[in-house]
């Protein structure tokens, strides 16, 4: 039954994917200025230009161009980057692992911190630990990751230089890796010193990314925990003689997670989008950072490629969230 749900969910996402592709297609083509003219140098002859037009299919009608566009995406042909002169897809895949490691680290961090904050807030309700946690969460909620990133740079760049504030790893160590998944690879191969260095570079950007989401999770989970606490099964659980801590963890939390996951899930995708800014500020070499260069240089194929990859990740992420919701809520599994 869960498989059927997953398949159904993927099928539902189809039109959205198509819509996203259409959106990118339209967006790129409304750009003022002739894309071909931007790609060629001064000595190009009219024949060269005509050839380029043919290569890029610009002589077809718009609907046909769209179909060609779809076919290209499906086969992984995203064209060649104008500024970096390499295949767009391979460029993206080279940098994607860095962004994924960052995003996943930030998500885990926010889940753990958010959960802890919410539990502290409920268990010590009315006493000072809860007040402290509530204050931090309230502050974190209003501040966007852009500002957190800058604050962290200011703090760790000037005031307390304990952690590195740029890059992913010291340049001389890049050759040590076979894959682009630096953290995963170094841990799996047992090179913990190296892993430590990657982690040190990862901490600040992940923290900047995670803080707003931590605040959301903490607030939502706390509210759903308090709501669940009014339910009768909690009374019965306490009537069985269990301590408040046990009731909180075994009875309240599983129920409170359900609405919390739905709402937090919506924000996970925002975290993924936040990588664009955080990578820029921390000079972290992921695909978000690459977008900046592409934008400045009006490198349309690259812009297009990065946008589509992000859209696919977003849609995929939404599917994952829906499925995890079905997993934890027994009532949804049947339906």
């Amino acid at each position: 039954m869960p498989i059927a749900y997953l398949l159904r969910r993927i099928a539902l996402a189809g039109p959205t994917l198509l819509g996203a592709a259409l959106f990118v297609f339209v967006l790129i083509r409304i750009a003022p200025g002739d894309p071909i003219a931007m790609m060629v140098t001064g000595e190009a002859t009219p024949e060269d230009i005509a050839k380029l037009r043919a290569v890029y299919g610009l002589h077809h009608s718009i609907p046909v161009q769209f179909l060609i566009f779809l076919r290209d995406i499906a086969t992984g042909n995203f064209g060649t980057s104008i500024s970096l002169h390499q295949d767009v897809l391979s460029l993206v895949f080279e940098r994607l692992p860095a962004t994924l490691e960052l995003a996943v680290a930030a998500m885990l961090l926010s889940m753990v911190c958010g959960l802890t904050f919410a539990l502290v807030s409920v268990y010590w309700r009315g006493r000072w630990p809860a007040a402290v946690v509530d204050a931090i969460a309230a502050a974190a909620l209003a501040v966007p990751e852009f500002l957190w990133a800058l604050l962290l740079i200011l703090l760790f760049g000037v005031a307390i230089p304990w952690l590195p504030i740029s890059g992913r790893i010291e340049p001389e160590n890049i050759a040590e890796f076979h894959t682009q998944f630096y953290l995963v690879e170094s841990v799996l191969t047992g090179r913990f010193a190296l892993a430590g260095e990657v982690l040190a570079h990862l901490v600040l950007p992940a923290l900047a990314l995670a803080l707003p989401l931590t605040a959301v999770i903490a607030r939502v989970l706390k509210s759903s925990l308090l709501q669940a606490a009014d339910q009768e099964y909690v009374l019965l659980a306490r009537a069985k003689g269990f301590e408040p801590g046990y009731v909180l963890w075994h009875h309240l939390l599983p129920n409170a997670l359900i609405p919390a996951v739905t709402i937090s899930g919506m924000h996970f995708t925002l975290l993924l989008g936040g990588t664009v800014l955080v990578e820029l500020i921390f000079s972290y070499p992921g695909i978000g950072n690459m977008l900046y260069g592409a934008a400045i240089n009006r490198d349309l194929p690259l812009i297009q490629g990065i946008t589509i990859v992000f859209a696919v990740m977003f849609i995929f992420m939404n599917i994952l969230i829906d499925c995890s919701y079905a997993l934890i809520n027994p009532r949804v599994r049947q339906g």
Binding site: Q231, E232, Y233, L235, L236, A237, R238, A239, K240, G241, F242, E243, H250, H251, P254, N255, I258, I328, N329, P330, R331
Partner: protein, 294 residues
């Protein structure tokens, strides 16, 4: 004669909100002997649920006991440290609640919710507790207990849920069970079955039951003794037979008269007279003043 299983003396309780303090219980006196079923009957808002929660020590945060004592098996419950109190709950005192479908945790399987009490208080292993759970489900007349254990609460009917709750209540062979309107949320036909179940189990195990309800018919059928509560005070008490045959307090008579009699359709409906209620509230206020001055 052995001391009563449960003895409540002059229990006073109030609810505190930022705006005001509302007295809920104004000196409750109640006792329950071993093996007895006592009904605590009164209309909604009379404070009867609070009595049950006070015994369990599960009062809401804004409720405060201001006077009186609750003695269970000659131990004073008020002021008992939480850890000691928790040892009693589930093991010596247990509870049956009103809404069977919401009394069970929706995300946990039935087996988990039945077995946790057994393992917590008796330290039984998984296999042993599972067998005991099956026995218990059998005792509450659930067919196919094996299947039920694996299910979730929303897959069971209201009646079946209540049977599970009853099974949990009887699981550790307690001395006292507090039943708070256990049949109110069920269909009339199921009500009868559940009541019969409770009575049969009570006869078999000799447990003391405090049966809280607003339904006089239930009290008449099930209880040995009855206490009538109104406005936070006990107005009348005695054996069920005696109280119903010849009630001494006008409120009790009015309550009995107000019950619809399906066997006497020509009788019509007799609501409780408002003058009586008004007089009773006056008396309540008067007794409050006396208490405050004392």
């Amino acid at each position: 004669m052995s001391p009563p299983l449960l003895e409540i003396s002059n229990l006073r309780l109030e609810i505190r909100s930022p705006a005001r303090i509302s007295p809920i219980l104004r000196g409750i006196n109640l006792s329950l002997l071993r093996g007895q079923i006592r009904g605590l009957v009164g209309e909604s808002g009379g404070g009867k649920t609070m009595v049950g929660k006070a015994i369990m020590g599960l009062l809401p945060a804004n409720a405060k006991i201001t006077a009186g004592s609750i003695r269970f098996d000659d131990q004073e419950l008020i002021g008992m440290p939480d850890s000691m109190h928790r040892r009693l709950l589930g093991r010596r005192i247990s509870m049956i609640l009103q809404q069977p479908s919401s009394a069970l945790n929706p995300v946990l399987r039935i087996e988990t919710q039945m077995v946790d009490v057994l393992r917590r208080h008796m330290g039984l292993g998984r296999a042993v507790s599972r067998r005991r759970a099956l026995e218990l489900l059998d005792a509450v007349q659930i067919r196919a207990p094996d299947k039920v254990l694996r299910q979730f609460p929303h897959e069971l009917s209201g009646g079946m849920c209540q049977r599970v709750v009853i099974a949990i209540a009887f699981a550790l062979e307690p001395s006292l069970i507090i039943a708070d309107e256990p049949t109110t949320a069920l269909d009339v036909t199921i009500q009868f079955q559940i009541l019969k179940l409770i009575r049969d189990l009570q006869r078999k195990t000799g447990v003391g039951v405090l049966f809280i309800t607003h339904d006089l018919g239930v009290v008449a059928k099930l209880c040995d003794e009855v206490s009538v509560i109104f406005g936070g005070r006990i107005l009348e008490e005695g054996s069920a037979e005696a109280v119903f045959a010849s009630p001494s307090h006008p409120y009790t008579s009015a309550l009995i008269a107000a019950s619809p009699r399906h066997d006497q359709p020509e009788r019509g409906l007799h609501p409780i007279p408002p003058e009586l209620i008004a007089r009773l509230w006056e008396e309540t206020a008067f007794s409050d003043r006396e208490y405050a001055d004392a």
